[in-house]
Symmetry: none
Subunit: 241 residues, 2 copies
């Protein structure tokens, strides 16, 4: 016993599979069993049925029982996934990739001596100078992207935050901050913008700590410190010469 077990697919099955794909491509709907039989020069519908069952067993096609022209090709010989599936797959890929590339409005500059420009809430950046494209993976998980905006740093006043002229900082709009956040603040007494680590000392004072540990912190009363956003990412591009 044990006759040759169908290694792979027979010639006819292959031909049927190809025909299914080409017919669908050409007509927009699948062929009937008799049409298949005609193509492989087989008169009897039962034989075609026989082959189709094989193809189904092997996972190449799917059949909707008793329904006319209801053969669906799941995969082809070369592993290609035809049509619907390929389309779906492409679609999800588009969505995924598109989702992973975020456009953040570059709404202005930030420097020591002038206030931080703020984007209008919700009304998404019509007047943005340009946008900065950033991969989602570089940003904190699931930030609402509408809360993000970018500023270009002007001048060297942020050097103690390790941020230099020309750097791009990406911020999340915020009025309050947690201890340890890198924040953009406006100091009312000093009339100055700065980027520092934020620590709320429980005595009504706020300590603003430079990133560079060798430098001294700034300590101000809470009401003199206006938080404008949390820094989520800093970008520094270098031109190649």
């Amino acid at each position: 016993m044990m006759a040759r077990k169908s290694e792979g697919l027979g010639e006819r099955s292959k031909k049927i599979l190809e025909f299914l794909v080409s017919y669908q491509e050409k007509h927009g709907y699948p062929p009937s069993i008799r049409e298949i039989g005609n193509h492989i020069h087989v008169e009897s519908t039962s034989l075609v049925d026989y082959y189709l069952n094989q193809l189904q067993e092997a996972g190449y096609i799917e059949r909707g029982g008793r329904i006319s022209r209801s053969i669906r090709v799941l995969r082809t010989l070369d592993g290609q996934t035809p049509f619907k599936q390929a389309f779906e797959s492409a679609k999800t890929t588009v969505e995924r990739v598109a989702h992973e590339l975020i456009s953040i409005p570059l709404i202005g500059r930030i420097g020591a001596s002038y206030p931080i420009p703020m984007p209008e809430s919700d009304v998404p950046y019509f007047d943005s100078l340009s946008t900065v494209e950033v991969a989602q993976s570089l940003l904190p998980n699931k930030e609402k992207i509408t809360d993000l905006f970018a500023l270009e740093v002007e001048g060297e006043s942020m050097i103690d935050a390790m941020i230099n002229d020309g750097d791009i900082v990406i911020l999340k709009r915020a009025e309050v901050a947690q201890n340890g956040d890198m924040v953009a603040v406006w100091l009312t007494r000093d009339n100055e913008t700065t980027l520092k680590y934020y620590y709320n000392e429980r005595n009504g004072y706020v300590r603003l700590q430079p990133a560079n540990r060798t430098m001294q912190p700034i300590i101000r009363p809470e009401k003199e410190v206006q938080v404008r956003g949390k820094v989520v990412l800093v970008l520094r591009q270098f031109k190649s010469h």
Copy 2:
């Protein structure tokens, strides 16, 4: 005479057209007339046939006479062309977007006291720890992406280059540099890695200038300075607390 001439399509025709598309998407083959009728709550097949003829007249569908489930949608209400064309369009979109999001291998760490790990040329990073996703727009025009690699900065030795612990630097492989490039170099005499601006003084010496202008440059003989790459981008991520 001249009764209301069908302006556009009737509600039912529209519904049928939508159904045709969604059914085909879902099942992989077109619906029968009865199934259509069922969907729009119409018992008589002849009425559905009537609507289908209209749709055909209007050029929305094509029918294979007497053949079961042989309706092909040519165009939809919003002018979209289903199937193959949509697939092609989606595919190109995928390719375009995917092209704008680049995966750069993160191949190790960089610190003052140990050499710069280098990726094998061409052999694309099998052993990369992970990858950094970056928008093409942030990189210099048309860099060969295979020449790019990323390193995570360890320690605070690069502070004078305004680069801190945890920062990610993206480099382009290079053995020589132009004046003004920010480069990653290995100093053989000092046994040290550093990131500095590169200036070749024509007297056989190289001046390595910190980004922070208040600091003093390092000057070394040309042969003691091994350029490993040009810095093209620095990323600093902040966790939100």
